[in-house]
Subunit: 88 residues, 2 copies
Amino acid sequence: MFVIVTYDIVEPRVINKVRKILKKYLIWTQNSVFEGKITQGKLHQCLSEIGKVVDKSEDSIYVYRVGNHRNVTKDVIGQEKSFDELFL
Amino acid sequence: MFVIVTYDIVEPRVINKVRKILKKYLIWTQNSVFEGKITQGKLHQCLSEIGKVVDKSEDSIYVYRVGNHRNVTKDVIGQEKSFDELFL
């Protein structure tokens, strides 16, 4: 499946932890957006890791799942970025 | 169709302009994420307005389009937010 993960996290320390987890599974494409193809099992593992580090009373993680990646079209206005080369 | 719009914008002044445009068409659900059902025509109009205010050399707007909203599932970890009540 194809997933888009977006996050709104209060503590910078936690943001870094969440990014490190997401980077293991998906592609970092915008400041607070990761995307990519992933299996149900890997996604479950990824979200379980994230669930352990975020503060559920104030942080917010959205996971948009699309069964078939052919059903998603991505248009870009401006820069198409990839942060995966950056040191984290 | 269903769309998810995410943005990474450098100038706070431009962020506010983009949010004002997106609020006319979609639902503001996370700091830099809007989502919702929209027609092709309205989406075109929305992106055209955005194209006029962003700096394409440094800003980045992603538009993920899914033809049928039934093909998208959204899972939330932590808080599910809506900023639409907030003053902008």
